[in-house]
Symmetry: D3
Subunit: 239 residues, 6 copies
């Protein structure tokens, strides 16, 4: 029995609120159960130095947790003077995941800057960040299309992410904090709209996992991401 009384293949309730703040070209609040993340997409009419004059754009992501988004207050990274390894790892993952569905040559010489800020954390913040940031990205691209800054969308597929794991011996979908902190294996999977895999990061926290576990987890991830993409589509259609 999962602490949340969900079935093994059951996602937490997902809510996607677009236009959550008023300035960003894309501004999405995504809630996956008690995990709540503000994902914004900002358009910057510059590219990093290594891309100047190459006729293509860039997309990059940053991630942060509000100090008391967690059960114990975390130190504020800005006050500490550096981002933790975990933060850097997550923001690199978010950037790669979103770039996997964007044709940067169609973006022109501009950067889309994704910011994922965790308001409340209850497990799965990196995967919810990707799922929510895709919708913010979509809104930012729509803004560019609407303003006729670009003439064709550089986005060629959806991308969403979910965690899967082995909790008390059972493969389960979408771990919350209680599960995550005591599971044997935790795997984050990122897939595109046609369920092609773009990232898979699995870690055995306790016992190693078997080939059979792997297969079961990938099955669950496919199903979960299929649902998440439907939710993204519904949110975007609501426009």
């Amino acid at each position: 029995m999962r602490p949340s009384h969900r079935t093994p293949a059951q996602l937490r309730p997902v809510e996607i609120i677009r236009h959550y703040t008023k300035y960003a070209e894309g501004a999405v609040l995504i809630a996956c159960g008690d995990t709540r993340i503000l994902c914004t997409a900002s358009v910057d009419e510059n590219v990093p130095p290594f891309l100047r004059g190459k006729g293509q754009g860039w997309l990059t992501a940053e991630y942060g947790m509000l100090p008391r988004s967690t059960g114990e207050r975390m130190k504020r990274e800005a006050a500490n003077g550096k981002q933790s390894g975990r933060t850097m790892e997550i923001q690199r993952l978010i950037g790669r995941a979103l770039r996997s569905v964007v044709d940067l040559t169609k973006l022109g010489e501009r950067t889309i800057q994704i910011d994922c800020d965790v308001i409340q954390a209850d497990g799965g913040t990196r995967t919810a960040s990707i799922t929510g940031a895709f919708v913010a990205l979509h809104d930012a691209v729509d803004n560019l299309l609407r303003r006729q800054v670009i003439s064709a969308t550089p986005i060629f597929s959806h991308v969403a992410a979910v965690s899967v794991g082995i909790f008390e011996g059972i493969p389960v979908l979408d771990l919350d904090y209680l599960e995550d902190s005591s599971c044997d294996t935790d795997m984050n999977v990122v897939m595109t709209g046609d369920l092609g895999m773009v990232e898979m990061q699995g870690t055995a926290e306790g016992a190693p996992f078997s080939r059979e576990n792997l297969d079961a987890m990938v099955d669950l991830a496919q199903q979960g991401i299929r649902e998440l993409i439907q939710i993204q589509k519904k949110a975007l259609a609501a426009g």
Copy 2:
């Protein structure tokens, strides 16, 4: 005429949502017009080294802006590796303001850590932070009382803050961003429950201000803070 069509002495609509997140002992979302700030109060059962063994507590504050809380995206301070001078100045002000109504000897050897994170900025973030953080602080102290960690409240008054200024020659209350960025004088005032002044910081952005202007601004601030304290009381009474 103010850009927002308010009268000179009119506050923006204020909303205070308590228990906005689930982990912090106090967690308040304050909205003053389009300015929205999450203020949390966290109890830490330690004091900084300079107070160890002195039988008293401490209260300190940190402040941050989400990168896209503003019209132009700001650089993330955690990625920059340091907090700006403006950030430091504001968080020092918030800390002093709240300490002015707390008897630290009644808190015991523990720290209350205030975090004010700006979700959306439309002027007056430092004053709204103080007004909201007071409510979060109150909730955190109630939590300590309820859990019988302390037996008497260390809070002996309310504290709230507001900005006043000279906009197009007229003294006005509670400047929004449009007013703030073109006013001649901007003054932040912090007062306690009986309207004693604890902080007053006025800056002439354009022409110097006269003694007469000062008097008019302090009058407006008193009135505004009287209203804000009523709003705090109502929010706290709602329990």
Copy 3:
């Protein structure tokens, strides 16, 4: 009775030594009682990136304390790897205060960099910095005029600053360290040559201050700044 046996409205003796060091375009040592600060104004033929090509100049300030300018040695900020919040707050104040009397469009595309370094601290270092730095700025501008780099002075008024406070219930002018560390209220006031207010920063260290206190403190500040501006004028006249 003030610890220094001064009357409530009595400034400490002020001495302004121009040309204190040989390289800077303006180099002033200001002594206010035992507070001694070296204020230099350096001309840099560049402007910060945000002003390039805008046909105007800039003025900025930095502040530092020598490690043993105080009773207890302070850690060297350069060794610590960062400036404290207090330092940043003060240098921002000095910059704003001086810019309030300079027409930056008349300066041309160059920067005047003010450095205020505290040799010995006995209270009032931020206000003495402003009063001294104005004289250094004046000398630097005279240097530009003399070398015909600019044809008209961008300085259109004097600016000086003083602290006032409530010490043992009495409003007093120009607090020294002994007073400052035990006063109820400490207020720093910056005024221009015709006593227009450009900055007012008051903090209740102990009990809140009343409207009446505020009025008395502003009265004292006006009188003190009037005297300080006379002292600046005399120093500048001495050639």
Copy 4:
């Protein structure tokens, strides 16, 4: 055809030199083709603060690249003042991988510090680091056993790692730099002595990868790690 003329399932030649430097308790140079990494294991008779008094040990890892270990010189991280996100990600991975085969309660209150420094990089530095560091760890533990600091080994399995990928549409084992920089998918797999999976990190650099690709890559990884563990055993047997 692979640029190195290897068959898809062929590892590069692996060489493990123990006792490569004289001070460290374990000091291994591992060469996988042209990738050469110095892996040391140092015993520190302390544990980090969060483990003090808990009766268990710790193992942590750091990773670095010599500036000219690569085709283009990289900036020295020590001179830059911070480790890159990639470095942090890799050293966290190495630490987790090695901890997965160590019973920290049998280590006593001490830390084994792993350092993996890349002398020459030709792809696969993170996986070679893990494979080499295991041998260094083994030597350090033997040192503790020999000196009777601990009475039973805390190591309960081997651990080794390899990369697999899809290069020009074909699943291949152990990518070198030429392959790595143009492959579609790159996956790093860490397994224990009985081929249980402890880490799997796959990234689609180009097109997403299919379930079929995943299966083929895991097959190759199993085979490669089986070989690597034999090489570790042979190196350790050599005394």
Copy 5:
């Protein structure tokens, strides 16, 4: 002919002002020509962690230049967030030089912290720092003796320093900035009261220097330091 019209073996005028500021246990302003440095010695009743409980004291030094102590304004190291390599090199030298004449076991478990801050730089700041700091150290030790904190002085000799060099082919003593910036060789020499050498750092800025040059420079240094020690003695005798 030297730019300053001095003879090759002629020191610049040296002035040592004791008790230059009021807080430090030792506070000396040393002027060597136009080079002016404030040297303070502060007593700290702690030792660094590596010496705790070892029954001995410590002496360490820090060095800084005021931003406009030089012809061109230098960036403030505190604002830059780090000390330059040159600064670190100099402060390490000052510390070693002074420790060479102090018996740290007689100091007790306390630290003497030397601060050398350059008010105006005209060549020879590191050597003048050592010569001046010795006098400040002496005053700080006298303070400890007078307060009966220690019963015997830990200082067993004088220490002073001077630069020598080859300027336009001629060995000269005590280079000023004009000489220093165009000389072929620059050597800093530190000697004790009986002219034993404790540091010698020579650098050929242009052509290498010969054995003969070396001998001539050491001769000049001995003579210069003999004079400097007389000046130190006279200053200390003045009480």
Copy 6:
């Protein structure tokens, strides 16, 4: 008797391995006894900002120690976020030493970046770095000549370095760690191919050193450097 049983004037065995790694234009492993350092010379087709457009090149050096190159593991400077004063001092010395034999105007507007990374430290790492880096520099220049990037070599002499010291009262050549950590005086000497002195840095760790000691140490250094230059020549001749 020296701990290593060498005679006072005897160098440790020196080995210079060229082309030690495959990417750098110059890549030398130098072993002086148990001290082993990888010295690379990398060509960068840029110059630092202060030299742009001046028609000359630059040479700069960085130095680092692998964390377990020493008996006790040292903290990794990249993880600490800064280079130590010792590191900065050494890398500045290496850069100056090599620049003393290079005509930068003949190098064209490019930089040669030297990296000296200590694999194993047993005393004399800074001098071995210079001796080894010269060979790497020579190889990098040969590479530029061979590729006809430059037409004439900018190198006009050899440069090598050695330490000398007073160990148990006897002047000795080439101190190893055991000697270095207990000697009275330690001096590093850098000379060019015709034994002109370019750097001499002597420190009395214990008793001051006499003029006679200095003479004896310089004699030893000349002899040692003469041998080292022969070893450099032989290594370079070997092709």
